[in-house]
């Protein structure tokens, strides 16, 4: 690439509007925190009202949150919140549900096998692959170190 092109790239970098970082971080914090607070609230209800033990609560809360994430995706609402929240809706487990359910809905037209099933993990797949592998690696390391 010659110099004049680099000049152009610098020009574009300088003149393109930037994301509003502080605003985005604040919204992500508020919405992400809000989702986690809802999760905590649900956990408290399970524990204190329904009398579930700690282990069961740890399983029941993520199941409930994933269900809610999927439900709101299906109602065409989750991405509207995500537009403002950014990482605030992406990071909690509800974001994972959205990443699985949204391609499942979108690619239903290509059939249940090659559409829904095959495309369901196009976004979430990498998270599973590297997440599980990282978990195995850390687990092995922990075992070898005697924890």
């Amino acid at each position: 690439m010659n110099n004049s092109n680099q000049e152009y790239l610098d020009y574009i970098e300088k003149n393109s509007p930037k994301s509003k970082l502080w605003r985005n971080m604040l919204l992500a914090f508020l919405v992400g925190g809000g989702i986690c607070t809802i999760g905590q609230g649900i956990g408290d209800i399970y524990e204190k009202v329904w009398g579930l033990n700690e282990e069961s609560v740890k399983n029941a809360v993520p199941i409930t949150m994933i269900f809610l994430g999927a439900l709101f995706t299906g109602f065409n609402l989750y991405h509207k919140l995500a537009k403002f929240a950014g990482a605030g809706t992406l990071v909690p487990i509800t974001g994972f549900a959205n990443a699985v359910v949204s391609p499942a809905i979108e690619f239903k037209k290509e059939g249940y096998v090659l559409g829904v099933a095959a495309k369901m993990f196009t976004i979430a797949g990498p998270v599973l692959v590297y997440g599980i592998n990282a978990a195995i690696a850390v687990g092995m390391l922990g075992y070898l170190m005697g924890y």
Binding site: I12, S16, S19, Y78, A82, N98
Partner: protein
């Protein structure tokens, strides 16, 4: 007189006239500033079809049907159909236009397709190979999103430089006999790549290609920007529009006075939340075949230049880290035909 003026520009000798144009637009576009100039407005994004792709095909079909209706010709009189779109293998065009039974020339020029197909139609007519030719293209927000980006319901954020794919279609019917407006020149673009790789900043990627073709047009025709009442690019958006003005200034052309971009006109950028503006084949197609042609007919503008700008990337090239090659095609239109 020579038809070829230079490396990129041809000047048409016979009068290549628009017989009629028609535009189709979606709801979001109909809520924008150009609302009243669209011929057909879709009642919703699906428009009664099962898949987004079928909807887009229907848009092309209706754009051409309406243009044929307005022109008063018979479909059988059209010798060639030059058409294309953004979807893989241009399926909107093939599925939407097959029932017409017109010899079909599939064209892929990304968002430059409207200008390219008008130029090719004009060449076929001036070359004596066609009496009547049609140019059609379209884009649909939902088909483009699912092919190039993420599922509609996926919760992601768009960057400020990202553009919104216009749900729109346009069809133009050109003829060797007609009362104008006339296509007078066609400057076809070279592939230009300045190294922009951000697929969310297409305007920036396409502006150098636009500057390349536009300056070639002025150089080879000996005209300057002031000759035109309106210079209109397809979908450079806010970032690309500003970049083109600056790039042209560096080349010694002041275009800011009479220049605008369809991507900045079709939506109310502040109110409609489209970030850097509109994009897609349908952006220039529906703006030109609607608003611009109406302005010409009303006598508001006489000499205009339309420029389709296309980013020639694919999902594969993008994932493999390639930069974005672009192309721009320029068509000069006038209410008066070229004099021999």
């Amino acid at each position: 007189m020579q038809k070829r003026l230079g490396a990129q520009t041809v000047r048409f000798q016979s009068p290549v006239s628009f017989l009629a144009t028609a535009s189709v637009a979606g709801q979001k576009e109909a809520q924008g500033p150009l609302s009243k100039y669209f011929d057909v407005i879709m009642e919703n994004a699906e428009w009664g079809e099962e898949t987004w792709e079928k909807t887009e095909s229907k848009m092309q079909k209706h754009a051409l049907m309406r243009a044929v209706e307005k022109s008063g010709i018979d479909v059988k009189d059209i010798n060639y159909l030059f058409a294309g779109d953004l979807l893989n293998q241009c399926i909107s065009s093939t599925f939407g236009l097959m029932d017409f039974g017109i010899p079909f020339m599939g064209v892929y020029g990304a968002c430059s397709t409207m200008a390219e197909t008008i130029g090719l139609s004009a060449m076929a007519i001036d070359g004596g190979f066609a009496n009547i030719s049609a140019a059609v293209t379209s884009s649909h927000f939902c088909t483009a999103e699912r092919q190039y980006r993420n599922p509609l319901e996926y919760g992601g954020q768009r960057t400020p430089t990202a553009q919104w794919t216009v749900t729109g279609s346009g069809a133009a019917i050109l003829s060797g006999t007609g009362q104008g407006p006339f296509v007078t020149h066609f400057t076809s673009g070279r592939i230009v790549d300045f190294g922009v790789s951000d697929a969310n900043n297409m305007g920036a990627a396409m502006a150098p290609a636009a500057a390349d073709t536009l300056s070639a047009h002025f150089r080879e025709t000996g005209r300057n920007p002031d000759f035109y009442d309106l210079i209109l690019s397809g979908d450079l958006g806010m970032v690309g529009k500003a970049a083109l003005i600056d790039l042209m200034y560096e080349k010694g052309y002041m275009i800011s006075k009479n220049y605008d971009d369809c991507g900045c006109m079709i939506f109310d950028i502040e109110k409609q939340d489209v970030h850097a503006g509109g994009s897609g084949c349908g952006c220039l197609a529906s703006t030109f075949c609607g608003y611009v042609m109406d302005m010409i007919k009303m006598g508001e503008i006489k000499n205009i230049l339309i420029m389709g700008t296309g980013a020639l990337l694919s999902q594969t090239s993008s994932l493999q880290g390639e930069t974005i090659p672009s192309v721009a095609h320029v068509v000069a239109i006038s209410t008066e035909r070229n004099r021999l």
